[in-house]
């Protein structure tokens, strides 16, 4: 570690940023950089979803343990679903809703298909055809959008 760095009094930044310190000659403390780029900075969810929470810095050699997205979900961490960008009626939310609709339709189609096949085994052919025509029985109904997915 570089040790304590105390700025000389009177060092004022011209444009809000004084390049004299950390200007590239002396590398800034990597831990301080990681803390900022991983945990701070503007959080506007990009299109590629990545979970950077639960980062634990274990050793001075910077061995990092990063929870996978699946682990995060298991732990109940789903920050992207509470992100204002996604929970408002923006493109992110519309994309999620469209995804959910598609998934529900697929599940419904699978269930209907499985149900029809079962009934075809148990019931005469006439009734089986009627079951297929009745349409999906997806829980919550097809086409309803719930915020947050």
């Amino acid at each position: 570690m570089a040790g304590a760095r105390v700025v000389q009094p009177g060092a004022s930044a011209a444009r809000g940023y004084d390049p004299r310190l950390g200007g590239g000659h002396e590398p800034a403390n990597l831990g301080d950089i990681l803390e900022r780029v991983l945990d701070k900075g503007l959080v506007i969810a990009g299109d590629i979803r990545v979970n950077l929470l639960d980062i634990e810095l274990l050793t001075i050699k910077l061995r990092l343990v990063i929870a996978s997205v699946e682990t995060a979900r298991e732990l109940g961490i789903d920050w992207w679903q509470n992100d204002p960008w996604l929970s408002s009626n923006g493109p992110g939310q519309r994309r999620l809703a469209a995804e959910n609709r598609e998934l529900r339709d697929r599940v419904a189609a699978l269930e209907a298909d499985a149900g029809a096949r079962t009934r075809a085994v148990e019931a005469p052919p006439e009734r089986a055809r009627q079951s297929r025509e009745r349409g999906p029985h997806a829980p919550g109904g097809a086409g309803t959008d719930r915020p947050g997915g």
Binding site: S12, D18, I44, V50, L58, L62
Partner: protein, 265 residues
């Protein structure tokens, strides 16, 4: 093909000149270019989705070497642009499907972004870390021993008496250190436009033997920079039992929000 590339975003600013970015190397060793929309600019690198799509990116983030190199690159690009103009740094690994998607984000969040930029205009982030006193400084001195009263006769009892004295001396030292950290934090907060406290860093990360008592980010008006840094030095002299470490100037990572700003004291 354009579809094979995503757009890795570094920062948002008002204006950005292409020639500021031309000399830079961004993530993956690729160049940096501006995306402009709605009167705002984002610094961006085109990245191959086979390496920066959701699944490969997640795997890469678990590779320490990759993470370290990428974090440093991300920061260097931000730092370089910050010398030219005020900006809002993006968190690492904010990747869009395309430059058009970046432009759409700028347009959609224009008001929020302009407000965020206004909050950091003509201001700089400084990091202040305070470390607890060294262990040996908290040993029982003669005053503490005297306050503890006369030692009892037997060796066992004398040992326990000594331990009790040491422990209470350590407790006193810790209390004093906490009071110092609090005092320093309040004094610096008065010179800052906004403050963000975060969890102390793990000793294994800092490489320092003493535990960290305060890990703060202070957003300071440019005209106050001199007063702020002078104050850090004089506070360090007034509180010799603790160690203060000042880092900066930083681009305003800790104050880059579109909701509420850091709490001002």
């Amino acid at each position: 093909m354009a579809e094979d590339f995503g757009s890795w975003a570094y920062a948002v600013a008002g204006g950005m000149e292409r020639d500021w970015l031309e000399a830079m190397t961004g993530v993956g060793g690729r160049p940096v270019h501006p995306v402009q929309a709605a009167g705002l600019s984002a610094a961006v690198t085109a990245v191959r989705l086979e390496h920066y799509g959701e699944e490969p990116l997640r795997r890469q983030l678990e590779d320490i070497g990759w993470l370290e190199a990428t974090a440093l690159t991300h920061h260097r690009v931000i730092e370089t642009i910050a010398r030219r103009t005020r900006l809002i740094p993006m968190r690492l690994a904010t990747v869009y499907h395309s430059d058009a998607a970046v432009a759409a984000m700028l347009a959609a969040r224009r008001d929020d972004l302009i407000a965020a930029l206004a909050r950091v205009a003509a201001r700089t982030e400084w990091g202040v870390k305070i470390y607890a006193p060294q262990r040996r400084d908290t040993g029982a001195g003669p005053a503490a021993a005297a306050a503890a009263g006369p030692a009892p006769g037997s060796p066992g009892a004398a040992y326990l008496h000594r331990r009790r004295t040491e422990l209470s001396a350590r407790q006193d030292a810790r209390r004093a250190a906490l009071a110092s950290a609090d005092d320093i934090h309040r004094a610096l907060g008065r010179l800052a436009a906004a403050v963000q406290l975060r969890a102390p860093q793990d000793p294994q990360l800092t490489g320092q033997p003493e535990p960290m008592m305060l890990n703060g980010a202070y957003l300071v008006d440019d005209e106050q920079s001199g007063r702020f840094t002078t104050a850090v030095q004089s506070l360090a002299e007034r509180h010799p039992a603790v160690r203060i470490e000042l880092t900066g100037p930083w681009p305003p990572y800790s104050f880059a929000t579109v909701d509420e700003p850091g709490a001002a004291l």
